[in-house]
Protein backbone atom coordinates (compact mmCIF):
# COMPACT_ATOMS: atom_id res chain seq x y z
CA UNK A 1 0.00 0.00 0.00
CA UNK A 2 1.53 3.31 -0.97
CA UNK A 3 2.12 6.22 1.36
CA UNK A 4 -0.01 8.64 -0.63
CA UNK A 5 -3.14 6.54 -0.14
CA UNK A 6 -2.51 6.39 3.58
CA UNK A 7 -1.96 10.14 3.65
CA UNK A 8 -5.19 10.80 1.76
CA UNK A 9 -7.09 8.50 4.08
CA UNK A 10 -5.53 10.23 7.10
CA UNK A 11 -6.62 13.56 5.71
CA UNK A 12 -10.08 12.18 5.08
CA UNK A 13 -10.18 11.14 8.72
CA UNK A 14 -9.29 14.65 9.85
CA UNK A 15 -12.15 16.08 7.76
CA UNK A 16 -14.57 13.51 9.18
CA UNK A 17 -13.16 14.23 12.63
CA UNK A 18 -13.65 17.97 12.14
CA UNK A 19 -17.38 17.43 11.69
CA UNK A 20 -17.45 15.18 14.74
CA UNK A 21 -15.58 17.82 16.73
CA UNK A 22 -18.04 20.58 15.92
CA UNK A 23 -21.05 18.35 16.62
CA UNK A 24 -19.65 16.88 19.83
CA UNK A 25 -18.67 20.36 21.04
CA UNK A 26 -22.30 21.41 20.87
CA UNK A 27 -23.27 18.36 22.90
CA UNK A 28 -20.48 19.02 25.39
CA UNK A 29 -21.26 22.73 25.82
CA UNK A 30 -24.93 21.97 26.52
CA UNK A 31 -24.06 19.21 28.98
CA UNK A 32 -21.32 21.25 30.68
CA UNK A 33 -23.49 24.29 31.25
CA UNK A 34 -27.01 22.95 31.67
CA UNK A 35 -26.38 19.36 32.71
CA UNK A 36 -28.72 18.27 29.92
CA UNK A 37 -27.84 15.18 27.90
CA UNK A 38 -29.28 16.25 24.56
CA UNK A 39 -30.50 13.13 22.77
CA UNK A 40 -32.00 15.29 20.02
CA UNK A 41 -28.52 16.44 18.99
CA UNK A 42 -28.30 13.98 16.09
CA UNK A 43 -31.76 14.93 14.84
CA UNK A 44 -30.80 18.61 15.01
CA UNK A 45 -27.63 17.80 13.02
CA UNK A 46 -29.90 16.22 10.39
CA UNK A 47 -32.36 19.17 10.46
CA UNK A 48 -29.34 21.44 10.01
CA UNK A 49 -28.41 19.59 6.82
CA UNK A 50 -31.99 19.90 5.48
CA UNK A 51 -32.14 23.57 6.48
CA UNK A 52 -28.84 24.20 4.71
CA UNK A 53 -30.08 22.44 1.61
CA UNK A 54 -33.36 24.33 1.70
CA UNK A 55 -31.78 27.77 2.14
CA UNK A 56 -29.18 26.93 -0.54
CA UNK A 57 -31.89 25.96 -3.02
CA UNK A 58 -33.99 29.05 -2.21
CA UNK A 59 -31.11 31.49 -2.58
CA UNK A 60 -29.19 29.51 -5.16
CA UNK A 61 -26.10 29.77 -2.99
CA UNK A 62 -24.44 27.21 -0.73
CA UNK A 63 -22.87 30.06 1.22
CA UNK A 64 -26.21 31.37 2.44
CA UNK A 65 -27.14 27.87 3.50
CA UNK A 66 -23.91 27.50 5.44
CA UNK A 67 -24.40 30.84 7.16
CA UNK A 68 -28.15 30.94 7.74
CA UNK A 69 -29.02 27.31 8.59
CA UNK A 70 -26.97 27.11 11.82
CA UNK A 71 -28.46 30.42 13.00
CA UNK A 72 -31.98 29.32 12.05
CA UNK A 73 -31.65 25.96 13.81
CA UNK A 74 -29.86 27.63 16.73
CA UNK A 75 -32.93 29.86 17.23
CA UNK A 76 -35.11 26.76 16.91
CA UNK A 77 -32.93 25.21 19.64
CA UNK A 78 -33.56 28.23 21.85
CA UNK A 79 -37.29 27.72 21.37
CA UNK A 80 -36.86 24.08 22.44
CA UNK A 81 -35.00 25.15 25.59
CA UNK A 82 -37.57 27.83 26.39
CA UNK A 83 -40.69 25.75 25.80
CA UNK A 84 -39.70 22.18 26.61
CA UNK A 85 -36.44 21.83 28.52
CA UNK A 86 -36.76 24.77 30.95
CA UNK A 87 -39.74 23.39 32.89
CA UNK A 88 -37.63 20.31 33.69
CA UNK A 89 -34.74 22.08 35.44
CA UNK A 90 -34.42 21.11 39.07
CA UNK A 91 -35.88 17.67 38.37
CA UNK A 92 -34.07 14.41 37.77
CA UNK A 93 -31.50 14.34 34.91
CA UNK A 94 -33.57 11.61 33.29
CA UNK A 95 -36.39 14.01 32.50
CA UNK A 96 -34.63 16.20 29.93
CA UNK A 97 -32.94 13.07 28.58
CA UNK A 98 -36.30 11.39 27.93
CA UNK A 99 -37.74 14.60 26.56
CA UNK A 100 -34.94 15.10 24.01
CA UNK A 101 -35.01 11.38 23.16
CA UNK A 102 -38.70 11.70 22.29
CA UNK A 103 -38.11 14.96 20.51
CA UNK A 104 -35.54 13.34 18.21
CA UNK A 105 -38.22 10.88 16.99
CA UNK A 106 -40.68 13.71 16.42
CA UNK A 107 -38.11 15.67 14.40
CA UNK A 108 -37.12 12.68 12.26
CA UNK A 109 -40.77 11.84 11.51
CA UNK A 110 -41.57 15.48 10.75
CA UNK A 111 -38.73 15.56 8.22
CA UNK A 112 -39.99 12.32 6.65
CA UNK A 113 -43.43 13.89 6.20
CA UNK A 114 -42.09 17.09 4.65
CA UNK A 115 -39.11 15.86 2.61
CA UNK A 116 -39.82 12.14 2.20
CA UNK A 117 -37.83 9.05 3.12
CA UNK A 118 -35.33 9.15 0.31
CA UNK A 119 -31.90 10.69 0.46
CA UNK A 120 -31.46 14.02 -1.32
CA UNK A 121 -28.09 14.84 -2.84
CA UNK A 122 -26.51 18.02 -1.45
CA UNK A 123 -24.47 19.45 -4.34
CA UNK A 124 -20.96 20.59 -3.53
CA UNK A 125 -20.65 24.29 -4.43
CA UNK A 126 -18.82 24.70 -7.71
CA UNK A 127 -16.00 26.72 -6.13
CA UNK A 128 -15.21 23.80 -3.84
CA UNK A 129 -15.33 20.84 -6.22
CA UNK A 130 -12.27 19.02 -7.46
CA UNK A 131 -8.97 18.30 -5.86
CA UNK A 132 -5.99 20.37 -4.80
CA UNK A 133 -2.36 19.36 -5.03
CA UNK A 134 -0.74 19.96 -1.67
CA UNK A 135 2.67 18.74 -2.78
CA UNK A 136 2.28 15.38 -1.03
CA UNK A 137 -0.86 14.34 -2.85
CA UNK A 138 -4.24 15.36 -4.26
CA UNK A 139 -6.90 16.19 -1.70
CA UNK A 140 -10.59 16.97 -2.27
CA UNK A 141 -11.01 20.74 -1.92
CA UNK A 142 -14.33 20.44 -0.12
CA UNK A 143 -12.76 18.41 2.68
CA UNK A 144 -9.99 20.98 3.03
CA UNK A 145 -12.69 23.62 3.25
CA UNK A 146 -14.50 21.70 6.04
CA UNK A 147 -11.28 21.54 8.07
CA UNK A 148 -10.69 25.28 7.63
CA UNK A 149 -14.26 26.22 8.60
CA UNK A 150 -14.13 24.06 11.71
CA UNK A 151 -10.73 25.50 12.68
CA UNK A 152 -12.07 29.05 12.31
CA UNK A 153 -15.21 28.26 14.34
CA UNK A 154 -13.07 26.65 17.06
CA UNK A 155 -10.88 29.73 17.21
CA UNK A 156 -13.93 32.02 17.47
CA UNK A 157 -15.44 29.83 20.21
CA UNK A 158 -12.19 29.86 22.14
CA UNK A 159 -11.91 33.64 21.87
CA UNK A 160 -15.54 34.07 22.96
CA UNK A 161 -15.07 31.81 25.98
CA UNK A 162 -11.68 33.04 27.15
CA UNK A 163 -11.61 36.69 26.14
CA UNK A 164 -15.13 38.07 26.56
CA UNK A 165 -17.34 38.98 29.48
CA UNK A 166 -20.00 36.57 28.25
CA UNK A 167 -17.39 33.80 28.11
CA UNK A 168 -16.44 34.50 31.72
CA UNK A 169 -20.11 34.26 32.70
CA UNK A 170 -20.44 30.94 30.86
CA UNK A 171 -17.28 29.48 32.41
CA UNK A 172 -18.27 30.56 35.91
CA UNK A 173 -21.94 29.70 35.44
CA UNK A 174 -21.17 26.14 34.39
CA UNK A 175 -19.35 25.66 37.73
CA UNK A 176 -21.76 27.53 40.01
CA UNK A 177 -25.01 28.97 38.66
CA UNK A 178 -26.18 30.10 42.11
CA UNK A 179 -23.29 32.47 42.70
CA UNK A 180 -23.95 34.01 39.28
CA UNK A 181 -27.55 34.70 40.26
CA UNK A 182 -26.56 36.56 43.43
CA UNK A 183 -24.01 38.52 41.38
CA UNK A 184 -26.78 39.84 39.16
CA UNK A 185 -26.60 37.45 36.20
CA UNK A 186 -29.88 36.23 34.75
CA UNK A 187 -28.61 32.69 34.38
CA UNK A 188 -31.77 31.52 32.56
CA UNK A 189 -30.90 33.83 29.68
CA UNK A 190 -27.34 32.46 29.63
CA UNK A 191 -28.67 28.90 29.50
CA UNK A 192 -31.02 29.83 26.66
CA UNK A 193 -28.16 31.27 24.60
CA UNK A 194 -25.80 28.39 25.37
CA UNK A 195 -28.42 25.85 24.32
CA UNK A 196 -28.91 27.82 21.10
CA UNK A 197 -25.18 27.89 20.38
CA UNK A 198 -24.86 24.15 21.11
CA UNK A 199 -27.72 23.32 18.74
CA UNK A 200 -26.34 25.74 16.15
CA UNK A 201 -23.05 23.82 16.21
CA UNK A 202 -24.91 20.56 15.52
CA UNK A 203 -26.65 22.24 12.58
CA UNK A 204 -23.33 23.58 11.28
CA UNK A 205 -21.98 20.02 11.45
CA UNK A 206 -25.01 18.89 9.44
CA UNK A 207 -24.59 21.50 6.71
CA UNK A 208 -20.87 20.78 6.41
CA UNK A 209 -21.49 17.04 6.25
CA UNK A 210 -24.23 17.44 3.62
CA UNK A 211 -22.06 17.49 0.48
CA UNK A 212 -19.98 14.57 1.80
CA UNK A 213 -23.00 12.24 1.93
CA UNK A 214 -26.65 12.29 0.91
CA UNK A 215 -29.06 14.14 3.15
CA UNK A 216 -31.64 11.77 4.67
CA UNK A 217 -33.85 11.60 7.77
CA UNK A 218 -31.66 8.96 9.41
CA UNK A 219 -28.32 10.71 8.94
CA UNK A 220 -28.31 12.01 12.53
CA UNK A 221 -28.65 8.74 14.40
CA UNK A 222 -25.11 7.48 13.81
CA UNK A 223 -23.73 10.98 14.34
CA UNK A 224 -25.42 11.13 17.75
CA UNK A 225 -23.68 7.93 18.83
CA UNK A 226 -20.36 9.13 17.42
CA UNK A 227 -20.70 12.46 19.19
CA UNK A 228 -21.43 10.70 22.49
CA UNK A 229 -18.40 8.48 22.04
CA UNK A 230 -16.29 11.57 21.34
CA UNK A 231 -17.48 13.39 24.47
CA UNK A 232 -16.88 10.29 26.60
CA UNK A 233 -13.36 9.78 25.21
CA UNK A 234 -12.56 13.48 25.57
CA UNK A 235 -14.07 13.75 29.04
CA UNK A 236 -17.64 14.99 29.63
CA UNK A 237 -17.80 18.77 29.65
CA UNK A 238 -14.21 19.28 28.44
CA UNK A 239 -14.09 21.32 25.25
CA UNK A 240 -10.43 20.60 24.54
CA UNK A 241 -11.27 16.92 25.11
CA UNK A 242 -14.00 17.06 22.45
CA UNK A 243 -11.56 18.52 19.94
CA UNK A 244 -8.80 15.97 20.51
CA UNK A 245 -11.18 13.01 20.76
CA UNK A 246 -13.17 14.10 17.69
CA UNK A 247 -10.05 14.13 15.53
CA UNK A 248 -8.89 10.87 17.06
CA UNK A 249 -12.17 9.09 16.32
CA UNK A 250 -12.33 10.55 12.80
CA UNK A 251 -8.85 9.34 11.96
CA UNK A 252 -9.45 5.95 13.61
CA UNK A 253 -12.63 5.36 11.60
CA UNK A 254 -10.97 6.46 8.41
CA UNK A 255 -7.82 4.37 8.86
CA UNK A 256 -9.85 1.31 9.80
CA UNK A 257 -11.85 1.73 6.61
CA UNK A 258 -8.57 1.41 4.76
CA UNK A 259 -6.91 -1.46 6.63
CA UNK A 260 -9.79 -3.44 8.09
CA UNK A 261 -13.10 -2.28 6.60
CA UNK A 262 -15.06 -4.97 8.45
CA UNK A 263 -14.01 -3.34 11.74
CA UNK A 264 -15.31 0.07 10.62
CA UNK A 265 -18.17 0.51 13.07
CA UNK A 266 -16.56 -1.12 16.08
CA UNK A 267 -13.30 0.81 16.14
CA UNK A 268 -14.61 3.88 17.96
CA UNK A 269 -16.16 1.74 20.69
CA UNK A 270 -12.90 -0.16 21.08
CA UNK A 271 -11.11 3.17 21.37
CA UNK A 272 -13.62 4.33 23.97
CA UNK A 273 -13.26 1.15 26.01
CA UNK A 274 -9.49 1.47 25.89
CA UNK A 275 -9.52 5.09 27.05
CA UNK A 276 -12.02 4.37 29.82
CA UNK A 277 -9.88 1.48 31.08
CA UNK A 278 -6.87 3.75 31.43
CA UNK A 279 -8.63 7.02 32.28
CA UNK A 280 -12.21 6.49 33.51
CA UNK A 281 -12.88 10.25 33.34
CA UNK A 282 -11.85 10.47 29.69
CA UNK A 283 -8.74 12.10 28.29
CA UNK A 284 -9.38 15.60 29.64
CA UNK A 285 -12.18 14.99 32.12
CA UNK A 286 -11.90 16.59 35.53
CA UNK A 287 -12.65 14.82 38.79
CA UNK A 288 -16.28 15.22 39.82
Amino acid sequence: MDAELILIQLFSGVALGAILVITALGLSIIFGMLGVVNFAHGALFMIGAYAGLWVASLTGSFWWGLLVAPIMIGVFGMAIEWLLVRPLYGRSVDDPLLLTFGLSYVLVEAVRIVFGNDGIPFPTPSQLTGVANLGVGYFPIYRLFVIVVVAVVLLLLWLALEKTKFGLIVRAGSRDPTIMRVLGVNISKVWLLVFGVGVGLAALGGVLAGPMRTVNPEMGSLVLIEAFVVTVIGGLGSLLGSVVAGLLVGVAISMTALFAPEMGTIVMFALMALVLLVRPRGLFGKAA
Binding site: R175, T178, L183, G184
Partner: protein
Protein backbone atom coordinates in the same frame (compact mmCIF):
# COMPACT_ATOMS: atom_id res chain seq x y z
CA UNK B 1 -34.43 56.09 56.35
CA UNK B 2 -34.98 52.36 56.14
CA UNK B 3 -32.69 50.55 53.71
CA UNK B 4 -34.17 47.10 54.33
CA UNK B 5 -37.61 46.36 55.74
CA UNK B 6 -38.62 42.79 56.35
CA UNK B 7 -42.27 42.43 57.38
CA UNK B 8 -43.83 39.29 58.83
CA UNK B 9 -41.56 36.96 56.85
CA UNK B 10 -42.44 33.28 56.70
CA UNK B 11 -40.25 30.78 54.86
CA UNK B 12 -40.48 27.08 54.08
CA UNK B 13 -38.12 24.33 52.92
CA UNK B 14 -40.48 21.78 51.43
CA UNK B 15 -43.03 21.08 54.14
CA UNK B 16 -40.99 22.43 57.03
CA UNK B 17 -41.93 25.91 58.16
CA UNK B 18 -38.63 27.65 59.09
CA UNK B 19 -39.50 31.32 59.70
CA UNK B 20 -42.62 32.30 61.60
CA UNK B 21 -43.16 36.00 60.98
CA UNK B 22 -39.74 37.68 61.15
CA UNK B 23 -39.73 41.49 60.98
CA UNK B 24 -36.44 43.38 60.81
CA UNK B 25 -35.66 46.95 59.80
CA UNK B 26 -32.14 48.04 58.88
CA UNK B 27 -31.61 51.78 58.44
CA UNK B 28 -29.34 53.25 55.82
CA UNK B 29 -25.69 53.22 56.88
CA UNK B 30 -26.35 50.96 59.83
CA UNK B 31 -24.56 47.75 60.77
CA UNK B 32 -26.99 45.22 62.23
CA UNK B 33 -25.91 41.94 63.78
CA UNK B 34 -28.32 39.04 63.36
CA UNK B 35 -27.47 36.45 66.01
CA UNK B 36 -28.96 33.35 67.54
CA UNK B 37 -28.34 29.64 67.82
CA UNK B 38 -27.57 27.28 64.99
CA UNK B 39 -30.79 26.53 63.14
CA UNK B 40 -32.59 29.58 64.55
CA UNK B 41 -33.33 30.93 61.06
CA UNK B 42 -30.56 33.48 60.50
CA UNK B 43 -29.32 32.07 57.20
CA UNK B 44 -32.89 31.48 56.02
CA UNK B 45 -33.69 35.12 56.74
CA UNK B 46 -30.93 36.51 54.56
CA UNK B 47 -31.47 33.88 51.88
CA UNK B 48 -35.09 35.02 51.74
CA UNK B 49 -33.99 38.64 51.44
CA UNK B 50 -31.69 37.65 48.56
CA UNK B 51 -34.45 35.69 46.82
CA UNK B 52 -32.96 32.22 47.22
CA UNK B 53 -35.74 30.49 49.15
CA UNK B 54 -38.19 28.26 47.27
CA UNK B 55 -41.24 29.55 49.17
CA UNK B 56 -41.79 32.60 51.36
CA UNK B 57 -44.60 34.94 52.38
CA UNK B 58 -44.49 38.44 53.83
CA UNK B 59 -43.02 41.71 52.67
CA UNK B 60 -39.42 42.64 51.80
CA UNK B 61 -38.62 46.21 50.78
CA UNK B 62 -35.14 47.39 49.86
CA UNK B 63 -34.26 51.04 49.29
CA UNK B 64 -37.91 51.82 48.58
CA UNK B 65 -38.46 48.92 46.14
CA UNK B 66 -40.65 45.88 46.74
CA UNK B 67 -38.39 42.85 46.39
CA UNK B 68 -40.91 40.06 46.80
CA UNK B 69 -41.60 39.58 43.08
CA UNK B 70 -37.97 40.05 42.00
CA UNK B 71 -35.47 37.32 41.17
CA UNK B 72 -32.09 37.18 42.95
CA UNK B 73 -30.23 38.71 40.01
CA UNK B 74 -32.59 41.71 39.93
CA UNK B 75 -32.03 42.25 43.66
CA UNK B 76 -28.27 42.41 43.10
CA UNK B 77 -28.80 44.98 40.37
CA UNK B 78 -30.74 47.15 42.84
CA UNK B 79 -27.60 47.27 45.00
CA UNK B 80 -28.08 44.32 47.34
CA UNK B 81 -25.05 42.03 47.60
CA UNK B 82 -24.67 38.74 49.44
CA UNK B 83 -21.70 36.81 50.77
CA UNK B 84 -22.82 33.21 51.33
CA UNK B 85 -21.49 31.13 54.18
CA UNK B 86 -19.82 28.68 51.76
CA UNK B 87 -18.03 31.64 50.08
CA UNK B 88 -18.47 30.04 46.67
CA UNK B 89 -15.23 31.07 45.03
CA UNK B 90 -15.61 29.68 41.51
CA UNK B 91 -13.05 26.91 40.90
CA UNK B 92 -10.90 27.17 37.79
CA UNK B 93 -11.09 30.97 37.80
CA UNK B 94 -8.32 33.31 38.94
CA UNK B 95 -8.76 35.78 41.78
CA UNK B 96 -9.04 38.53 39.17
CA UNK B 97 -11.75 36.67 37.26
CA UNK B 98 -13.68 36.01 40.46
CA UNK B 99 -13.57 39.77 41.13
CA UNK B 100 -14.72 40.49 37.57
CA UNK B 101 -17.79 38.36 38.25
CA UNK B 102 -18.90 41.03 40.72
CA UNK B 103 -18.88 43.57 37.90
CA UNK B 104 -20.42 41.72 34.96
CA UNK B 105 -23.96 42.67 35.94
CA UNK B 106 -23.49 45.58 38.29
CA UNK B 107 -25.85 48.49 37.63
CA UNK B 108 -23.20 51.07 38.51
CA UNK B 109 -20.93 52.14 35.64
CA UNK B 110 -17.57 51.05 36.96
CA UNK B 111 -14.19 50.99 35.25
CA UNK B 112 -13.02 47.41 35.70
CA UNK B 113 -9.30 48.12 35.97
CA UNK B 114 -9.75 50.95 38.48
CA UNK B 115 -12.17 48.88 40.54
CA UNK B 116 -9.76 45.94 40.73
CA UNK B 117 -6.85 48.26 41.62
CA UNK B 118 -8.96 49.79 44.34
CA UNK B 119 -9.92 46.38 45.75
CA UNK B 120 -6.27 45.29 45.60
CA UNK B 121 -5.35 48.27 47.77
CA UNK B 122 -7.97 47.31 50.39
CA UNK B 123 -6.99 43.63 50.31
CA UNK B 124 -3.20 43.31 50.21
CA UNK B 125 -3.53 39.55 50.49
CA UNK B 126 -5.47 39.42 47.24
CA UNK B 127 -3.21 41.89 45.47
CA UNK B 128 -0.31 39.43 45.43
CA UNK B 129 -2.57 36.64 44.20
CA UNK B 130 -4.62 38.26 41.44
CA UNK B 131 -3.54 35.69 38.84
CA UNK B 132 -3.62 32.66 41.12
CA UNK B 133 -6.63 30.32 41.05
CA UNK B 134 -9.00 31.65 43.72
CA UNK B 135 -10.17 28.29 45.01
CA UNK B 136 -6.60 27.23 45.88
CA UNK B 137 -6.20 29.94 48.53
CA UNK B 138 -6.67 29.42 52.27
CA UNK B 139 -10.16 29.61 53.76
CA UNK B 140 -9.52 33.07 55.17
CA UNK B 141 -8.22 34.40 51.87
CA UNK B 142 -11.22 32.92 50.06
CA UNK B 143 -13.49 34.67 52.53
CA UNK B 144 -11.73 37.96 51.82
CA UNK B 145 -12.16 37.33 48.10
CA UNK B 146 -15.86 36.58 48.56
CA UNK B 147 -16.30 39.87 50.44
CA UNK B 148 -14.24 41.76 47.86
CA UNK B 149 -16.34 40.27 45.06
CA UNK B 150 -19.52 41.43 46.81
CA UNK B 151 -18.07 44.93 47.37
CA UNK B 152 -16.63 45.58 43.93
CA UNK B 153 -19.96 46.45 42.29
CA UNK B 154 -20.47 49.17 44.93
CA UNK B 155 -23.68 47.84 46.47
CA UNK B 156 -25.78 49.87 48.89
CA UNK B 157 -26.08 46.97 51.26
CA UNK B 158 -24.23 43.69 51.88
CA UNK B 159 -25.69 40.61 53.56
CA UNK B 160 -22.92 38.57 55.18
CA UNK B 161 -23.42 35.01 56.38
CA UNK B 162 -20.93 34.08 59.11
CA UNK B 163 -17.88 35.74 57.58
CA UNK B 164 -15.68 34.98 60.60
CA UNK B 165 -16.41 31.25 60.62
CA UNK B 166 -13.30 29.06 60.58
CA UNK B 167 -10.91 31.94 60.04
CA UNK B 168 -7.75 32.76 61.96
CA UNK B 169 -8.16 35.55 64.53
CA UNK B 170 -5.77 37.93 62.80
CA UNK B 171 -7.92 37.83 59.65
CA UNK B 172 -11.09 38.27 61.69
CA UNK B 173 -9.59 41.47 63.11
CA UNK B 174 -8.68 42.62 59.59
CA UNK B 175 -12.24 41.94 58.54
CA UNK B 176 -13.56 44.05 61.41
CA UNK B 177 -11.45 46.99 60.27
CA UNK B 178 -12.76 46.52 56.74
CA UNK B 179 -16.41 46.45 57.83
CA UNK B 180 -15.95 49.66 59.85
CA UNK B 181 -14.48 51.29 56.79
CA UNK B 182 -17.39 50.11 54.66
CA UNK B 183 -19.81 51.61 57.17
CA UNK B 184 -17.88 54.87 57.09
CA UNK B 185 -18.40 54.86 53.33
CA UNK B 186 -22.15 54.60 53.93
CA UNK B 187 -22.60 50.92 53.05
CA UNK B 188 -25.33 49.20 55.07
CA UNK B 189 -24.42 45.79 56.53
CA UNK B 190 -26.50 42.93 57.86
CA UNK B 191 -24.16 40.54 59.60
CA UNK B 192 -25.20 37.01 60.52
CA UNK B 193 -22.75 35.70 63.12
CA UNK B 194 -22.05 32.93 65.60
CA UNK B 195 -19.11 34.93 66.94
CA UNK B 196 -21.51 37.05 68.99
CA UNK B 197 -19.05 39.26 70.85
CA UNK B 198 -17.14 40.19 67.74
CA UNK B 199 -20.35 40.94 65.85
CA UNK B 200 -21.77 43.06 68.66
CA UNK B 201 -18.60 45.14 68.87
CA UNK B 202 -18.93 45.89 65.17
CA UNK B 203 -22.67 46.46 64.98
CA UNK B 204 -24.88 49.40 65.89
CA UNK B 205 -27.88 47.25 66.65
CA UNK B 206 -28.54 43.59 67.33
CA UNK B 207 -31.44 41.31 66.51
CA UNK B 208 -31.78 37.83 68.00
CA UNK B 209 -33.79 35.16 66.24
CA UNK B 210 -34.81 31.94 67.90
CA UNK B 211 -36.91 29.15 66.38
CA UNK B 212 -37.81 31.30 63.41
CA UNK B 213 -38.93 34.36 65.35
CA UNK B 214 -37.36 37.63 66.46
CA UNK B 215 -37.03 37.41 70.25
CA UNK B 216 -34.89 40.42 71.04
CA UNK B 217 -33.92 43.74 69.51
CA UNK B 218 -31.67 46.37 71.07
CA UNK B 219 -28.56 48.42 70.58
CA UNK B 220 -25.57 46.10 70.41
CA UNK B 221 -24.02 47.82 73.40
CA UNK B 222 -27.09 46.93 75.47
CA UNK B 223 -26.99 43.31 74.37
CA UNK B 224 -23.25 43.13 74.95
CA UNK B 225 -23.90 44.16 78.57
CA UNK B 226 -26.84 41.77 79.04
CA UNK B 227 -25.19 38.42 79.63
CA UNK B 228 -28.48 36.81 80.68
CA UNK B 229 -30.12 37.30 77.30
CA UNK B 230 -26.95 36.28 75.46
CA UNK B 231 -26.85 33.14 77.59
CA UNK B 232 -30.51 32.40 76.95
CA UNK B 233 -30.54 32.74 73.15
CA UNK B 234 -27.00 32.55 71.89
CA UNK B 235 -25.18 30.02 74.06
CA UNK B 236 -24.19 26.95 72.14
Amino acid sequence: MAMLEVQDLHAWYGASHILHGVSITVRQGEVVALVGRNGAGKTTTIRSVMGLMPRISGGIRFDGADLTALKAHDRYRLGLAYVPEERRIVPGLTVRENLQLGLVASAAKINEREAIDEIAESFPRLKERLDQEGATMSGGEQQMLAIARAMIGRPKMILLDEPSEGIMPVLVEEMGVLFRRLRDQGVTLLLVEQNVEWALRLADRAVIVDQGEVVHESSSAALLADKAIQERYCAV
